[in-house]
């Protein structure tokens, strides 16, 4: 496409449509969305896999369970029969989807079924925490940047306080305190095992990372001619924010979403790995890696499989974030089209 044609296309379509069209053509976007879609789909199918295919309850200990391999019944947890007969080893991958596809963990539970359920929880917490983080950061960033003065000072110092703590240290501290007794705010009580707790904790610790750039962008926008003109015409603050400010910061927010969701997902996995995220018998990829740590020498797949899924999901989200950024950036888009 020539520069002239490109310019005509730009003026004939809305920026949103152009971005979508660019995204559809971007291989990074297609590949990452395919991978993400696949992971989300198999995670959503977890109950169907567990109950209809593997016929197992992945939340119950099954230390005395047996399964059939090549027509032979074998215990899921096998006591050593060689040497001094020390130790009990869970069954390894059978690569048979109907029976311990990825083997069993130390409680005799089907690792594949737990992996799929774990995916649901990790994705749910990561996405929910990411959205909460973005929404709160948007609110704080816009108010601080638009109002300036003492409102900005207070909100900025609040963000500084959260920012001053290393993310994981803050998340671990909050988790240790809240997961022991839960959280009660007025008549709302979140129990120690509630998913809402890790969602809130993770969502809160990343707010400064999004709110700061948004605030800076709003501060700049506020001084632009079109905003000053709107203020000059006597438009209400809410109208200015909704009509003039938000449309100009939405592209940045859209770029943040996949990156923050990936970060939240990684943080959830890390906290669950440390036993301060998702609580047993529920699973997340982090808890399954923790289970696999004790089986690293004999049954490495218990730890490797969730690790691979975390890497794939985080990489796909980051790749998609890059594609979104390029699609929403007119300069990059023009360079690409040229």
């Amino acid at each position: 496409m020539s520069i002239k044609d490109s310019s005509e296309a730009i003026f004939s379509e809305s920026p949103g449509k152009i971005a979508l069209r660019t995204l559809r053509r971007d291989k990074r976007s297609v590949i990452s969305l395919t991978i993400l879609g696949f992971i989300v789909a198999i995670s959503l199918l977890a109950p169907i896999y567990a109950h209809l295919v593997a016929h197992t309850n992945p939340f119950n200990s099954s230390l005395d369970a047996t399964t059939k391999i090549s027509g032979k019944t074998v215990p899921v947890l096998e006591a050593s029969s060689t040497g001094l007969g020390l130790g009990v080893t869970p069954i390894g991958p059978t690569w048979n989807p109907t029976s311990y596809f990825l083997g069993a963990d130390g409680q005799g539970r089907d690792v594949m079924a737990r992996l799929l359920y774990g995916g649901r929880n990790t994705l749910l917490i990561g996405t929910s925490a990411g959205i909460i983080c973005i929404l709160l950061a948007l609110l704080i960033g816009v108010i601080a940047g638009y109002r300036k003065g003492w409102v900005d000072a207070i909100l900025s110092r609040l963000l500084d306080v959260i920012w001053a703590f290393p993310v994981y240290l803050l998340a671990i501290s909050l988790s240790v305190v809240l997961l022991t007794s839960g959280l009660t705010i007025g008549f709302i009580h979140l129990g120690p095992g509630s998913f809402a707790l890790p969602i809130l904790i993770i969502g809160v610790v990343y707010i400064p990372y999004v709110a700061r750039p948004i605030r800076a962008q709003v501060l700049t926008l506020r001084e632009r001619e079109f905003v000053r003109a709107a203020i000059g015409t006597g438009a209400k603050d809410s109208t200015i924010i909704i009509r003039e400010i938000l449309p100009n910061i939405i592209p940045s927010v859209l770029v943040f979403i996949p990156i923050i969701v990936a970060l939240c997902m990684l943080t959830e996995s890390a906290l669950s790995f440390l036993s301060i995220g998702v609580q047993p018998p529920q699973a997340s990829w982090g808890t399954i890696i923790n289970d696999g740590l004790a089986l690293l020498y004999t049954r490495p797949w218990v730890g490797i499989a969730p690790g691979l899924l975390i890497v794939l999901t985080a990489a796909s989200l980051n790749l998609y974030g890059d594609a979104v950024r390029d699609a929403l950036d007119p300069k990059t888009r023009a360079r690409g089209d040229a």
Binding site: F59, N60, S61, L63, D64, L77, A79, S80, T82, G83, L84, G85, L86, G87, V88, T89, G106, Q107, T180, P192, G193, S275, Q279, P280, P281, L293, A294, L295, L296, Y297, T298, R299
Partner: protein
């Protein structure tokens, strides 16, 4: 006491001998009836390297209460009495150490007379005198030794020392004569276990000028074959030969083989195993990780030693708060747990055995019975546990009216304990509760579950014998005196206090002074009686596994202090 803590043994006469005779060994190196072979200089020298994930706190022998360091104190510190250096049951025997002979008992068992050996010096060159002996007993109270109030409270003057430790004087309780080297210990009442209590590290003799506070990381001069050269809890502990040591009793303090013993800290259990496999270390302190057990049991079988322990893993249930303030709820847990499954989590049948009696097998008073197994009841018990009875457990929960209640399971955060917690959660959920697992640091879990303020409903914990007497299990863990509300030192974690049961235990203890067999029979009956109330659910009895490097020889296992570190040879 817990795994990192020591096993203290009472060896008064026939009772302890009978107990020790029952404790058989399955070590790959057969236990002998006698003590150590005579010292062979040809094998002396070299360095023994021990590895552990963490240090065990203060090095002060009057303060430290862990098996990890008591294992080292055997080779370094001495009391008037000591436990014999010997394999298996021989190690239960109390022998004279710094005293020339076992005490002469008089005044109806209330007075013990010793004579101090002469010519013995501390590792700083200072001679050991009777003044050091008296000061050492006073120091037990001055530094608030953890057993001051439980082991040594019977010494005349101890009550005042317990209330005002800083000014402790035992002028009437420990009477010494420098001219004759005589030491007289006066008790307020006869104590069937005093001999054993005088043989443990808290009663060792230190220089009279030792600090009257916890010495912490500063080594206190020793009398034994080794002394402590340096100690950094974050890094290492080094022991070297005591230059002033001359063997005075081969049974109590024999000459050691290595020139140096090094303990390295901060090594993960799996790295410890690899280090021993590669001959970079001689011995692994921590429990072998579950996924390395099969490997060492097959490839390194000749380097593995498995020995029985008189201990139990059990689940105390708080009888004072719901749902376990209902006896049916407690009985339901006893019926529901699959003890064989818990043994699997621990490492398999070679490392543990299911039990449901309170007194462990091979222990004085133990009776083979199980009231909580399929087909049995507490009134009509089976001989041994065979299988859980989930149907009966569910019915009991329903009958108790506690179904649907929330139950928190407090476990230590190491891998095995967490797995036990997750398994227990699954069981409790299956019989009608809403269970959650609360893993907390192993450093605080043991005290956390004792304090009633924390409202712990059920927990997973362990108890290792202090001395082979039934009172150390039943009276210590379920006696009213062991229950102190709002205290971290309330070892009766179930909060069980039954006055009638207490009175019968007192009767059994009194009977033990004159008729051990009759006393043990009574203890056996009390075991069955208390388990009808089910304040705890006993799961299994564990074994000790030692993994040593291929270049390490002369392994000996003491039922009292576990492995004799100083007898290991590298040459």
């Amino acid at each position: 006491m817990r795994r990192r803590s020591v096993v203290l043994t009472s060896l008064i006469g026939a009772a302890a001998l009978a107990a020790s005779a029952l404790v058989g060994g399955t070590s790959s190196q057969a236990a002998t009836a006698g003590g150590m072979a005579p010292f062979d200089p040809a094998h002396a020298g070299g360095t023994i390297k021990l590895v552990a994930a963490a240090a065990a706190g203060s090095l002060d022998p009057k303060i430290n209460y862990t098996g990890q360091y008591w294992e080292l104190y055997q080779a370094s510190y001495d009391g008037l009495l000591g436990f014999r250096y010997g394999d298996g049951k021989a190690s239960f025997e109390v022998v004279p150490d710094l005293a020339t002979a076992l005490p002469v008992m008089s005044n109806g068992g209330k007075t013990l007379t010793f004579t101090l050996r002469s010519g013995i010096k501390f590792s700083n060159g200072q001679p050991v005198t009777v003044a050091d002996v008296k000061a050492s007993f006073e120091r037990i109270f001055k530094v608030s030794s953890p057993t001051a109030g439980s082991f040594y409270n019977g010494i005349v003057g101890a009550t005042a020392c317990l209330s005002k430790p800083a000014t402790c004087k035992l002028d009437q309780g420990v009477v010494v004569d420098a001219k004759t080297n005589k030491i007289v210990i006066n008790l307020t009442a006869p104590d069937e276990t005093i001999i054993s209590k005088l043989a443990v590290p808290h009663a060792v003799i230190n220089p009279a000028n030792s600090p009257v506070k916890d010495a912490g990381t500063t080594p206190i001069p020793t009398t034994g074959a080794y002394m402590f050269k340096s100690y950094d809890p974050n890094k290492s502990l080094v022991m070297v030969r005591n230059p002033y040591f001359k063997e005075w009793s081969h049974d109590a303090q024999p000459q050691g083989y290595p020139d140096q013993i090094e303990y390295q800290f901060g090594v993960t259990p799996t790295a410890q195993v690899t280090a021993v496999e590669n001959n970079q270390a001689n011995w692994v302190y921590d429990p072998i990780p579950a996924d390395r057990l099969n490997e060492i049991g097959t490839k390194y079988a000749s380097q593995v030693h498995v020995n029985p322990l008189t201990a139990m893993w059990y689940l105390p249930m708080n009888v004072n708060i719901a749902p376990f303030n209902n006896v049916k709820a407690r009985q339901a847990v006893n019926y529901a747990i699959d003890r064989a499954a818990m043994v699997k989590i621990f490492g398999g049948s070679q490392l543990a055995a299911p039990v449901c009696s309170f007194l462990p097998p091979n222990f004085p008073g133990h009776v083979d019975y199980c009231g909580y197994t399929k087909g049995a009841t507490p009134d009509k018990p089976a001989k041994a546990w065979s299988a859980p009875d989930l149907a009966l457990a569910k019915q009991l929960v329903k009958d108790s009216g506690t179904a649907g209640q929330a139950v928190g399971i407090v476990v230590s955060d190491d891998d095995v304990n967490k797995q036990m917690g997750v398994y227990l959660q699954s069981v409790l959920n299956s019989i009608g509760y809403k269970a959650t697992v609360k893993p907390i640091s192993g450093n605080i879990q043991f005290t956390y579950i004792q304090n009633t303020k924390n409202k712990v409903q059920i927990s997973v914990t362990q108890w290792y014998q202090d001395y082979p007497a039934a009172s150390d299990f039943l009276n210590v863990l379920l006696g009213c005196a062991s229950f102190t509300p709002n205290s971290d030192s309330s070892i009766n974690m179930a909060g069980y206090c039954n006055k009638s049961f207490d009175a019968q235990m007192a009767k059994a203890m009194t009977l033990g002074l004159t008729d051990t067999a009759a006393a043990n029979k009574l203890w056996g009956q009390l075991d069955q009686q208390v388990m009808k109330d089910a304040p705890v659910a006993v799961a299994f009895t564990p074994k000790q596994l030692d993994f040593i490097s291929s270049g390490t020889k002369n392994y000996h296992f003491s039922l009292q202090y576990k492995m004799f570190v100083d007898q290991l040879q590298t040459k």
